[in-house]
């Protein structure tokens, strides 16, 4: 590591001029930096070189004359003399291209890659004008599906191994590989092992020919008919850079763009979820979008005009006074989040505003922990994860974690169920729900907890040797340690994880944290005040009050209710219960971890106003539904898991009468007789930059200078690197955009800083949470999210919807033996709250004494979110007894 950190410059001669290479840099990359582009197919800047396509051959002078060498595999040496333009090189390039085209069908006119094809482009630039190949080309059945999403045309394949290397090297799932020999070599999935990767779409994008195609784009458009908007993916909170492409105002494709957060990769939900916006190109049905305002009349929702809907909403809100609860907003833009915070807290005067559905972590923890960036993973001395399955929740963050593991960075994992991180972990500690903090204490050297863990009727949940290995790998004082902390288990109280994170921050004062909240812009929503007790800019009500006094008409004086507190008060008829509930894109009936509480609470609200882009279970029972624009229809910014603000660009117009999130807030304020004082998204952005302490100085120019990579707030806390040149073959299909040079105003940028100190914020997090002891007859429930679930994106995307599994409960084989039933049998899980009939799956990786369920998956008898029916939000942990039916 130390060697890489100190760049050593190597001077060599390239086509007669002296150029410089960094130590460890390959010739092809050094040449490209110096302005000499060497053609390539197999080389990919985000993967290890393999040197198989031989397109990048250059002539290198050596002791025994010049030899042709693959520039992707040769590191320049001091004084090396290289030619990329000699006759010998040109003949070799000509030869390789002629060989590649020998068996390649010339079906460019009907090939999806035609027009954006590296083989086409490089043949034009470097290849022979015509082929001397008159033989019968190789034939395969075409195309063959190799997964639910990807199809393979083996005749077009040029065996560059980009896809197989991506699968093995980047995703860590070698589910596709080469079979056969000679010119009959083909890429193939394994007959016994399906290609189920969450990252399969990347293989399609990096394919340098049309061999791999994705179902959602096949024959949908031609590259020259496509419009492109560079934006940020809002499928989860990683914030991957994307090129969103559309044709005739319908989304056709989402491509990864290389950048420092995502390295160009996307998960399949991020890539193909666009179908939920404008529909699949070949589907008959439209996605379930809300396209017009709706009002409940005579017990039935009917379309109405915006003015009628807004009047009705304003009337209900006026009548309620400050007795208003606002839930959601984590899918909104930053500007929308700010607008709604200003409306709720500054106009209506309620602080019962919560972007999280009790599935995240307290805002004071998010703001109070020392922040890490994703780039810090590249230089971390060790990484500690306490999260659900990252490859399911924040998929591309998982890929970045794999990169770190590949570099040799030790990853220490505390988990409740082994997952994809476990496979790359240096040491993995399995814990049962409720025991995380105890294990964290042991990790910090406090062995008082050991006896209690050991006394569990099923024994210690982890190998003591792994604990010792983990301790040894953790750096003294936490220097260079990056901790990724997220909600491990939706069947337990979030304060358990919060307390553990706080303890780590205390024991490792130099450690930095990535708080792995999952929803797209949950971080922006929290930052901009959609959480009780805070005003926009990560400041508490008390500390922020004076800053907003001049611009906002009011600010709340007392901390309001969280989502669960609002619904709880409604359900029990408590005096604090809000009279009107405003749901900002939230669907508690599907998405709240306590399903019974959502049903009971929503039923009791006098008026429910739902702002939503899609029809959901919650819109169906609302009094007023207001259609809002969704991903790829919006202008504004979003904030990722690091607190990085990046740009959203609209690629298509919103359907029907959908309005932007901030527009609805402004119009509603208007209807209430107030005025948010802002009329454009830029005006909201400017007010955020002026008033929100954490966002001070975040100007449009500064964002533009970051060229899609975004700016971590507070401004100045992380360097801005600016535009990188686009390698046209690395991520084919992305249209080149003019590189924007780093902004000239950098020097004058105001340094932003959180106004409320971290220690003060963390002091509100409990030191420890008391956990009930194990019940020898019960299993402790762990509920985690999956990438493909019953949420609006997946269920409305025809290509993704079939990938949602039915709910199953995974238990250790011994638990099924005890019950005397076989794997696959439907069992009854009985919690204190309810019971659920669900198929049981025997899984020896499940910790004894634990039952594992996935969130937001249905069963035969319980459509929707089956797991939520078992969970009581008031309980610290969830114990279930498993019975035969």
């Amino acid at each position: 590591m130390a060697d890489d950190a100190t760049p050593v410059t190597i001077r060599f001669t390239l086509d007669g001029r002296e150029v410089e290479a960094n130590k460890g840099e390959m010739l092809i990359a050094a040449a490209e930096r110096s302005g000499t582009y060497i053609p390539r197919f197999c080389y990919h800047p985000r993967m290890e070189p393999v040197g198989v396509c031989r397109m990048c051959l250059v002539e290198v002078e050596g002791p025994r004359g010049t030899t042709l060498m693959p520039s992707c595999y040769i590191a320049p040496a001091e004084g090396m003399v290289v030619r990329t333009d000699s006759e010998k090189v040109k003949k070799a390039q000509d030869g390789v291209l002629e060989f590649l085209l020998a068996n390649h069908p010339l079906d460019c006119p009907v090939c999806d890659k035609g027009g954006e094809c590296p083989l086409q482009d490089q043949t034009l630039a470097y290849g022979p004008g015509e082929s001397r190949f008159i033989e019968e080309k190789r034939h395969f059945e075409k195309p063959v599906p190799i997964s639910d999403l990807v199809l393979l045309d083996r005749e077009r394949c040029i065996q560059c191994s980009r896809c197989t290397r991506f699968a093995a090297e980047v995703a860590g799932e070698a589910q596709i590989a080469f079979a056969g020999r000679g010119d009959l070599v083909e890429v193939a999935p394994f007959p016994t092992e399906p290609f189920t990767s969450h990252f399969s779409g990347n293989t399609v994008q990096i394919c340098p020919v049309g061999a791999l195609t994705a179902k959602p784009y096949r024959f949908a458009a031609r590259p020259w008919d496509i419009d492109q908007a560079e934006s940020t993916c809002t499928g989860c909170s990683v914030g991957c850079r994307v090129a969103v492409q559309s044709s005739q105002d319908r989304l056709t494709r989402v491509l990864g763009v290389d950048g420092e957060v995502s390295h160009g990769w996307l998960c399949d939900k991020g890539r193909f979820g666009f179908e939920a916006v404008t529909g699949a190109h070949d589907a008959d049905s439209e996605p379930g979008r809300v396209t017009t305002p709706m009002l409940k009349k005579n017990g039935e929702l009917v379309p109405v005009t915006w003015s009628e809907a807004l009047s009705a909403a304003a009337a209900a809100l006026s009548a309620a006074g400050t007795s208003v609860g606002v839930i959601g907003g984590a899918q909104f833009t930053n500007e929308g989040a700010y607008a709604w915070a200003k409306l709720a807290k500054g106009v209506i005067g309620t602080d019962s505003v919560d972007a999280q559905l009790d599935d995240g972590l307290p805002a004071s923890l998010v703001f109070g922990l020392p922040a890490a960036t994703i780039l810090d993973l590249d230089t971390a001395s060790a990484i500690l994860t306490i999260t659900g399955d990252l490859s399911e929740e924040l998929p591309v963050l998982f890929l970045r974690l794999r990169e770190a593991a590949h570099r040799g960075t030790p990853i220490i994992q505390i988990h409740q169920h082994p997952d994809s991180v476990t496979a790359i972990a240096h040491s993995a500690l399995a814990v049962r729900s409720g025991d995380t903090d105890a294990v964290v204490r042991m990790l910090c050297g406090d062995d008082a907890q050991a006896a209690q863990l050991r006394n569990h009727p099923e024994g210690l949940s982890f190998d003591p040797a792994a604990l010792e290995a983990a301790k040894a790998a953790l750096p003294q004082g936490g220097k260079g340690l990056v901790v990724i902390v997220g909600r491990e288990n939706l069947a337990e109280d979030g304060t358990l994880t919060a307390a553990a994170a706080k303890r780590i921050a205390g024991a490792f004062p130099e450690a930095t944290f990535l708080v792995g909240l999952r929803r797209a812009n949950v971080r922006g929503a929290l930052d901009l005040g959609l959480t009780p007790g805070f005003l926009p800019g990560r400041v508490t009500l008390a500390e922020g009050q004076s800053g907003y006094a001049g611009t906002w008409s009011t600010t709340p004086s007392t901390t309001g209710l969280s989502t669960v507190e609002q619904l709880g008060a409604l359900a029990t008829g408590a005096a604090a219960a809000p009279s009107v509930l405003v749901l900002l894109g939230a669907d508690p009936l599907t998405d709240l971890r306590d399903g019974a509480l959502a049903t009971a609470g929503l039923a009791k609200a006098n008026t429910t106003i739902v702002v939503s882009g899609h029809h959901t279970a919650t819109t169906a029972m609302a009094d007023i539904v207001l259609p809002v624009t969704v991903a790829n229809e919006r202008t504004g910014t979003t904030t990722n898991v690091e607190g990085r603000v990046s740009v959203l660009a609209p690629a298509v117009a919103a359907p029907g009468q959908s309005w932007a999130d901030w527009t609805i807030a402004a119009a509603l304020a208007d209807a209430l007789g107030a005025d948010l004082g802002l009329e454009t998204v830029d005006a909201f952005a400017a007010e955020i930059a002026a008033l929100a302490p954490s966002h001070r100085g975040l100007s449009a120019q500064l964002l533009a200078s970051a060229s899609g990579d975004g700016v971590v707030v507070p401004v100045g806390s992380s360097p801005i690197h600016g535009a990188q040149p686009l390698d046209p073959t690395a991520f084919p299909g992305v249209k080149a955009v003019p590189a924007r040079p780093l902004g000239t105003e950098e020097a004058s940028v105001l340094e932003g800083a959180p106004a409320t100190g971290g220690a003060a914020l963390l002091s509100t997090i409990p030191e420890a949470v008391s956990v009930p002891g194990p019940d020898g007859y019960a299993l402790r429930l762990t509920v985690q999210r999956r990438l493909y679930d019953g949420g609006a994106t997946v269920t409305n995307a025809p290509s993704l919807a079939p990938l949602v599994d039915g709910a199953t409960v995974r238990v250790h084989p011994s638990a099924l033996d005890r019950l005397g039933v076989a794997s696959g049998t439907v069992v009854r899980l009985r919690s204190a709250a309810a019971h659920l009939d669900v198929p049981a799956v025997s899984d020896k990786t499940v910790t004894k004494g634990t039952a594992v369920l996935s969130f937001n998956h249905g069963t035969a008898e319980h459509a929707g979110n089956a797991a939520a029916s078992l969970i009581d939000a008031a309980a610290v942990v969830t114990d279930v007894r498993m019975e035969t039916r």
């Binding site: 393999v50 040197g51 198989v52 396509c53 031989r54 397109m55 051959l57 030899t67 042709l68 693959p70 595999y73 010998k88 003949k91 070799a92 000509d94 030869g95 390789v96 002629e98 060989f99 590649l100 020998a102 068996n103 001397r132 190949f133 033989e135 019968e136 190789r138 040029i158 065996q159 191994s161 590989a177 080469f178 056969g180 020999r181 000679g182 010119d183 009959l184 070599v185």
Partner: protein
Amino acid sequence: MSTTIVTARREFDDSFTIERALATGAYEGLKKALAMTPEAVCAEVDAASLLGRGGAGFPAGRKWSMLRKNPTTYLVINGDESEPATFKDHYLIERDPHQLVEGVIIAAYALQVTQAFIFIRGEFALGLERVTQAINEAYAHGALGRNIFGSGFSLDLVVHPGAGAYICGEETALLESLEGKRGFPRIKPPFFPAAIGLYGEPTVVNNVETVSNLPWIVSNGGAAFAALGEGRSTGTRLFALSGDVERPGVFEVEMVKSTFRDLIERPELGGGVRGGKAVKAIIPGGVSAPWFFPEDLDTPLGQDEVAAKNSMLGSGSIVVMDETRCMVRAAWRITKFFSRESCGQCTPCREGSGWLERVLYRLEHGGGRMEDVDLLLDLCDNIAPGLTWPPQQTTICVLGPSIPSSIHSAISRFREEFIAHVHDGGCRHGR
């Protein structure tokens, strides 16, 4: 002439049994080696100046000295002999497995390696059975396992059957295959497994015949071995002689002291060209080698002597083609082999071999065009630029640049035969 080293037991039908092996001195060389220091054993091999018998002819002692110092090192024996007309290791594997096992143990002791592998071509069913048997017997005899013959040296030896790919004879592809992966040759650098080999650890890869010489070298001394042969080519070599000769087979011949003519014509060796016909062409060292012609018959069977004539002694397989043979067909058959066995990694080899094969097929079977002859040469040039010997390459391993040898040789010498095939719409002889 009559000196035999690795085929000393050829007169016995039961040469593969441990009883016969022990009765004829097996494991005596090992015992002597174990009484020496490892350095002394290496010194004997250096003194013997034993050249590798796998094809490249790299000095075994030098290869050993390159083994990087490391807590874990491996020895791998390449018994994947798969090239057409090459069958001399096959002979040693089947006929004298104990000599092979003894050689492996001596090599391992000299290198202080405690884990060795023999990678044997999967199609050698009998050979696999006999080597496996020999290893089991060696364990029982105390020659393998813990504390060999009470010396304190321990070695485990594993037989690994190949899965049928010629490319796994390329040492880095062999290592990949041994690791359980697809047999793709590794890109160079690193150039030698002695730096980074099996499982990323330093590894020596030796050929079956190379290590089969070790018991004799230790028993008789490196100097005695070096006294045989001439120049850099010391000792004896096994030649797999085939094609149009009266007595095809495996022959052990002292290096340099005999010529190709001797090998083909002597009654106790090849016994002459079959039917008394004239030689048309000779493949002197495996199908990768440029061909020899009648004027080359008096070239001595030595590494440098053959190299001086722009070919190689290679894998020791010599194929005689008589005056009736069709050169287009010969080139086509060889190219067909390479096109089937190309691993498919590098574009020029994968696509070039198949293309060449199809063009040659057309020439031989009808459908040849006049421009095909130069097309063949230019495609060859795109695989091995300049068509020089030793070849330049555009590929990761040497399979690619091996393809042009036969085509280039055949066209250079018998261009008119190719042209006749075009005129005649195919081959008149079909032979």
